[in-house]
């Protein structure tokens, strides 16, 4: 019996060895590092790119825009990912930025809410508790119920950074998916929420922000305010490695547009 066991063990080891070596080929690596908000976009792009180009390995390190920019500057990654435009001093220190996509966030209220337009200041007030009743912004006499996403969510990060409400939002609910936010808003007449533009917003009312309705066009033209760029930060002087340049070119090409759109962002490539 021991013999049989031994034979089986040896066979198993041999099999794993064969399979393990079968996969290893000479491969190039493209490393990206940065914004967690860009996770969905960059991972979808990387997945498609790796499927099309076997032998290339695209890695992604979710650290945050600031860390990603520093990593690109210090040469610790090929492409730094930032979900904001680079600051002047960052550009001055030798980085180039390329916008690959735009992230538009829709502000949603209950379908029965008469309010149809809000300014950024009003949104700030509604979420920080300064405005606690809808009558203050021209709505019915009903308490405001701000609904948002969980800490770490890219949509939350985007919304809070654009409206300047980082760490001061007084949420009534923190939900873990866009769908849950939409459902909660659709059920509570006093609710206000935010969701990615790419989601299905039929059951709720999308308000215009400073008179502009969110759409792919208004986000692209910059008229719709609640948006931010998804940026690739690279060293301006030093050229990218061949593999990294190829991936970079792919991401900024029109081929990648449908993948970016699929990941919930607005592609900018024409």
């Amino acid at each position: 019996m021991k013999k049989i066991l031994m034979i089986m063990l040896v066979a198993a080891f041999a099999m794993t060895a064969v399979f393990a070596t079968g996969a290893s080929e000479e491969s190039a690596t493209v490393s990206t590092d940065g914004s967690t908000s860009m996770e969905k976009v960059i991972l979808s792009l990387a997945e498609q790119y790796m499927a099309d180009n076997p032998g290339v390995n695209v890695t992604y390190n979710p650290t945050g825009s600031g860390t990603g920019i520093t990593a690109a500057l210090e040469g610790r990654c090929d492409i730094g990912l930032a979900s904001r435009a680079l600051k002047d001093n960052e550009v001055a220190s030798g980085l180039a930025q390329t916008i690959v996509a735009l992230d538009g966030i829709a502000i949603i209220v209950n379908a029965d809410n008469p309010v149809s337009d809000l300014t950024i200041d009003q949104i700030y007030g509604l979420y920080t508790g300064e405005i606690s009743n809808w009558s203050e912004v021209g709505g019915a006499d009903a308490p405001v119920v701000p609904i948002g996403r969980e800490a770490g969510s890219g949509t939350r990060d985007g919304f809070e950074s654009i409206t300047g409400t980082e760490d001061i939002c007084k949420y009534s609910q923190e939900l873990t998916s866009t769908g849950a936010v939409i459902t909660a808003v659709s059920q509570n007449p006093g609710a206000i929420g935010y969701a990615s533009l790419a989601s299905n917003l039929d059951s709720v009312k999308t308000v215009t922000v400073e008179g502009v309705a969110p759409s792919e066009e208004t986000v692209k033209s910059g008229e719709y305010k609640i948006q931010r760029p998804f940026v690739f930060a690279t060293l301006a002087e030093t050229p990218l490695s061949e593999a990294a340049q190829a991936f970079f070119d792919y991401c900024t090409s029109t081929d990648a547009a449908s993948i970016i759109a699929g990941a919930g962002a607005v592609p900018v490539a024409e």
Partner: protein, 302 residues
């Protein structure tokens, strides 16, 4: 040892059935070890990945801090709101669920006509089989708006909603365990009581229930275990804001704290989530220990 000698020593040649017997024993042992191994792996992993963040944050600050802001520019990792919410939520579920479950069990065991009992037991079986996400879904679409309208609060996603959902969720285990405890009481006890002139209600509450005491406690502890470990259903009805608990406020439990932030977490935030899981694990261990004590003390009486 050579294989031949081994076979000779065990006497497999003369008795092939013994070989089969021994083989089957070994297979069963291996299968048993799967469970033991899983527990070991989970425990070790939780301790190893949960402890660093506790020390990095500071045990006192972590366990008794009242502010949780894991992604703020100055992050705070106090989990007291989660611990208290879990305790209050579970206590609330027990306060509502146990009396209902217990009286239902007394009714089923002692008073219900056979037909009624069959139907009710079937329903309880179905209730036990409903997945927690369904409880959450129904809670989210019916209970949450219901609480908002009934109690006139701005938002129904509150601790109260979570308590109601948990109370219903623990009903089947409370009823089933109490039921078997009540049925295990010897018929003679009740007959003696009735013969002495007690009414049947007196008998049930003065004789049967005290005799089934330890089983009923077991039911309560099982209910606590179920309630404190539930995540999915309450994540959908409790609102998940890291407030200090209050009945009509949105709250976050230990379980939902881990579940809601895990997907996008990184760095210290992720480590802290493991630490929360470790705290939750300790709670469950304590509940299990209590359960074991109850079971052995119940067994001694017999």
């Amino acid at each position: 040892m050579k294989l031949g000698e081994f076979i000779a020593q065990k006497g497999y040649k003369d008795n092939p059935r013994r070989l089969v017997e021994d083989l089957i024993h070994m297979v069963f042992l291996l299968l048993g070890l799967v469970a033991v191994g899983s527990v070991l792996v989970i425990t070790i992993y939780l301790v190893v990945s949960g402890l660093p963040a506790i020390f990095k944050i500071g045990p006192i600050e972590f366990l008794f801090g009242t502010r949780w802001a894991s992604t703020a520019s100055e992050p705070a990792f106090g989990i007291l709101p989660f611990i208290l919410t879990s305790i209050y939520g579970t206590a609330g579920a027990i306060i509502i669920g146990v009396p209902i479950g217990f009286f239902a069990a007394v009714f089923l065991a002692k008073m219900a006509p056979k037909k009624v009992r069959e139907v009710m037991e079937l329903c309880i079986g179905v209730l036990a089989g409903i997945p927690s996400v369904v409880y959450g879904l129904v809670g989210m679409t019916i209970l949450v708006p219901g609480i908002r309208i009934l109690f006139g609060v701005p938002d129904g996603a509150t601790l109260f909603a979570a308590i109601i959902v948990l109370a219903v969720m623990i009903l089947p285990s409370v009823i089933n365990v109490s039921l078997s405890a009540l049925e295990a009481v010897p018929r003679e006890y009740e007959e003696a009581s009735l013969a002495l002139g007690a009414t049947s209600t007196e008998t049930y509450f003065r004789v049967t229930v005290p005799a089934a005491k330890s089983g009923i406690f077991t039911a309560i502890v099982l209910g606590i275990g179920r309630a404190i470990g539930e995540a999915m259903a309450i994540m959908m009805v409790a609102g998940n804001v890291a407030n200090m608990p209050s009945l009509f406020k949105s709250v976050r439990f230990l379980t939902t704290a881990v579940a809601s932030e895990m997907s996008y977490s990184s760095g210290l935030q992720r480590q802290a989530l493991f630490s929360i899981a470790l705290v939750l694990f300790l709670f469950i261990m304590i509940i299990n220990a209590i359960l074991n004590v109850l079971k052995t003390s119940g067994g001694e009486k017999k």
